[in-house]
């Protein structure tokens, strides 16, 4: 088979698996800090119980993120040597700064955050939690700077066929970066909100009425309800930014074949690239012109302007609709649940049953969104600078096929184990409720060595 398509599949499999876990840890770090701060302020041990339930999820997610991240750092070289050869002078420093300012910070202080509770003072432990949360966010900062630069590259020149930076400020704060960063951080927040709300709803369904369950349930639900309207606004802004800088991506997302005014919004349909039309389409007249140009006779770019130079239409069209659909679901569920928790201090059973599968709605939306933006960059790896096909390495297709098969099997197994363990942890927490042994909370370091038990 073709090593190019196999390598692309392998990288997609890898990065799809990887992004699931940072999406959780970026925001969960801050939520854990919130639990700790609430505990420090109120001395209510239920906050600490919530912390200890969720810190286990954090530890597991972090480990999954680390091992799949290490894999990715190697795959740049094993499968895409042309990438670093061409743009290494830009990508290199950005990746190096990620490792130096973020990766080490989180990895070192994670140990103290997870296992140091009785070895350092409460203050130092809180500080370690801050540093881990800060590290995960910094990590997102650098990676999204690089990803955004690949989408909308500026601040460089090409000498002897190799890219050289001319302005680092322009490279990092490239046109799509602020939008992408905000969109991704909010996505992480929403993923964690719904994960916490969903697993807490599962605890509620099996009869857990403990204070720590309520605290986690409310935190997740309220946070989701606050973040989702902000995300809808931020996503819209990101879309307008994409229209300005990568119009071919928008044309594919909207499956708009001709540049014209009065473009309808295609709600559903089946884009057919060969016939350059949409089958079975359901449309709102002037919808796309209104959304993208705020005027019914606004001109929306069509795919006819980018023949041979635009991304595949079908995955973008559907990826975008899945993401938006999940977002709407999130809005409905979190606002309904908030109303119930606020006014009735309880949940109707059907709503709780819906919230459990919604625990992973953030994953679905995040993946769908990333597929839109990454497939939307094709056929370029770095827009206008490097084609994906020119970066692939000389490795034999059979080797890539073999490793791809093993990665897929491994990732599937690990994902099943991860989900099973999360469920197990939630059910165990539900069973223990407020009777779980109280953590040894001290405001000063315990005498060492401490006996376990």
């Amino acid at each position: 088979m073709d090593p190019l398509i196999l390598s692309r599949m392998q990288f997609a499999a890898n990065i799809s698996f990887h992004i699931l876990f940072p999406t959780i840890t970026i925001a969960l770090g801050w939520v854990l800090l919130f639990f700790k701060i609430r505990y420090n302020a109120t001395s209510d041990t239920a906050w600490m119980r919530a912390y200890f339930t969720w810190v286990k999820v954090f530890a597991l997610s972090f480990a999954m993120g680390v091992v799949s991240g290490v894999t990715m750092s190697f795959q740049f070289g094993t499968n895409w040597p042309g990438y670093m050869e061409k743009v290494g002078n830009i990508a290199g420093p950005l990746l190096a700064y990620e490792v130096l300012t973020a990766f080490f910070l989180e990895a070192v202080f994670l140990g103290i955050m997870l296992f140091g509770f009785r070895r350092v003072s409460n203050k130092v432990h809180t500080a370690a939690t801050v540093l881990v949360a800060f590290g995960t966010t910094m990590s997102a900062f650098w990676i999204l700077a690089l990803n955004s630069w690949m989408q909308t590259p500026v601040g460089f020149e090409i000498r002897d066929g190799v890219v050289h930076a001319t302005s680092w400020w322009a490279v990092v704060f490239n046109p799509s970066f602020p939008y992408r960063l905000v969109h991704m951080l909010l996505a992480s927040g929403l993923t964690v909100s719904f994960l916490i709300a969903g697993l807490s709803a599962l605890r509620w369904l099996v009869g857990d009425r403990s204070e720590s369950m309520w605290k986690a349930l409310r935190t997740g639900t309220f946070l989701g309800a606050i973040l989702i309207p902000i995300q809808i606004f931020a996503g819209d802004q990101h879309g307008l930014n994409t229209l300005e800088h990568q119009p071919q991506k928008i044309a594919a997302m909207e499956a708009n074949w001709e540049t014209r005014a009065h473009v309808p919004l295609v709600l559903f349909g089946w884009p057919d690239e060969a016939a350059r039309t949409n089958h079975f389409e359901v449309t709102i007249p002037d919808g796309a012109s209104l959304i993208l140009r705020h005027s019914p006779d606004g001109v929306v770019p069509g795919l006819n302007d980018y023949v041979g130079n635009h991304p595949p239409v079908l995955p973008l069209f559907w990826g975008f609709r899945i993401m938006v659909g999940v977002g709407v679901m999130m809005l409905l569920v979190s606002w309904t649940a908030t109303w119930w928790l606020w006014r009735r201090q309880t949940l109707p059973r059907p709503l709780a049953l819906l919230m459990v599968p919604m625990a992973f709605s953030g994953w679905v939306a995040t993946l769908a969104g990333w597929y839109v933006t990454e497939i939307g960059r094709q056929p370029w790896l770095v827009t206008g600078v490097l084609k994906t096909a020119d970066a692939v390495g000389p490795v034999a297709g059979s080797h890539v096929a073999f490793t791809l098969a093993v990665y897929l099997a491994l990732y599937t197994t690990l994902l099943i184990a991860y989900l099973a363990t999360l469920t197990h942890l939630a059910l165990k927490a539900a069973k223990e409720g407020d009777k779980s042994p109280l953590p040894a909370v001290l405001d000063k370091p315990a005498a060492q060595p401490l006996a376990g038990g």
Binding site: V67, M84, G88, L100, V108, L110, G111, H424
Partner: protein
């Protein structure tokens, strides 16, 4: 050689990369080694062994990311050449690291009856990762040759490195544990030490024979004279440590950290020998560090970050090791 930035920067980055690899090999060496020794321990001992590395392994593995990262950012040409040539061993290494990394966490969180499964995965992952690293080192030393001889040499180095890691793991256990497990670890160290010494000797003899260029770098005067302390000192340290294993653990737990420090010193000596053999190549016989380096501007901007951040990283790493100093107790989240 003129001392200007385009000459110096690649040299500095080669040094930094070497430092990151050395720190990685010493630090992740002991936790991979404990994974290898995992199969020899019973349930209770396994929990203690995990407790001895639990707070550290994440940060230890980050040094590998830094090393590969530096290779990637400072020597992009070499990064592509090396990693495409080592495609399958790298893959085996990654699968090993993935398995052991997640096994750490799963074993503590799954229902008790599944714990055994993750213990076994932890052992298998650690062993595979160590073997893969050794194999890659062996093939790399020979300039990424293919063919039966290079593969055989790779296999030899693979077992040598796995034994060396096991020795590191045992030495770390002597430092971090007490009682029967500590006594056991002394026996493990003795056995692993013999294998390590044999492996290192074999590699030292085979390398110059396999590569005429390396032979010429070592066996000429006066270089031979001032290089000779490397093998001689290593030999003395090996013998002395081996003799120590008949006296450890000592009353009052004296010298418990000594085996680890001695092994780390042996690693440094072996590493210095390898570095001398490679210099000035980053891909042996093909690319020198100057041919493979990124643009000086890009290296400069990274160096600024490294100069500020690396000391801080070292500082808080030392702090984290101090927080978890002393004998390992049960790992708990509170």
């Amino acid at each position: 050689m003129t001392l200007d930035w385009p000459t110096l920067l690649p040299l500095i980055f080669a040094g930094l990369m070497g430092l990151a690899i050395l720190i990685y090999v010493v630090l992740d060496g002991f936790d991979l080694g404990i994974g290898i020794l995992f199969s020899l321990a019973d349930d209770k001992e396994q929990d203690t062994m995990i407790a001895a590395i639990g707070p550290f392994w994440d940060a230890n593995e980050t040094w590998l990311v830094l090393a590969v990262g530096l290779l990637l950012v400072a020597f992009p040409m070499a990064h592509g050449v090396i990693l495409t040539a080592l495609y399958l061993p790298v893959f085996v290494l990654l699968v090993g690291l993935i398995l052991r990394g997640v096994a750490f966490d799963f074993r503590a969180k799954v229902p008790t009856h599944r714990k055994h499964r993750w213990n076994r995965i932890f052992f298998i992952g650690s062993l595979t990762a160590s073997l893969a690293q050794g194999y890659m080192l062996g093939v790399y030393v020979l300039g990424l040759q293919t063919g039966m001889a290079a593969m055989a040499f790779g296999v030899l180095v693979a077992f040598c490195l796995a034994a060396a890691y096991a020795a590191m793991g045992a030495a770390w256990l002597i430092y971090k544990t007490e009682g029967p497990l500590q006594t056991k670890a002394v026996l493990w160290l003795r056995a692993a030490l013999v294998l390590t010494a044999l492996g290192m000797a074999a590699v030292s003899i085979a390398t110059p024979l396999a590569s005429p260029r390396i032979f010429d770098k070592w066996f000429v005067l006066p270089e031979l004279l001032w290089l000779s302390p490397l093998p001689i000192l290593s030999g003395i340290l090996f013998l002395w440590l081996w003799w120590q294993t008949f006296h450890l653990p000592k009353p009052g737990d004296r010298h418990a950290a000594l085996p680890f420090v001695t092994l780390a010193a042996i690693f440094v000596l072996g590493f210095a020998g390898l570095a001398w053999s490679f210099y000035p190549f980053v891909v042996p016989e093909r690319l020198t560090i100057w041919q493979a380096a990124s643009a000086p501007e890009a290296l400069g901007i990274i160096l600024v970050g490294v100069a500020f951040v690396l000391p801080v990283i070292l500082g808080y790493s030392v702090y984290a090791y101090r927080v978890f100093g002393g004998k390992a107790d049960d790992l708990r989240y509170d």
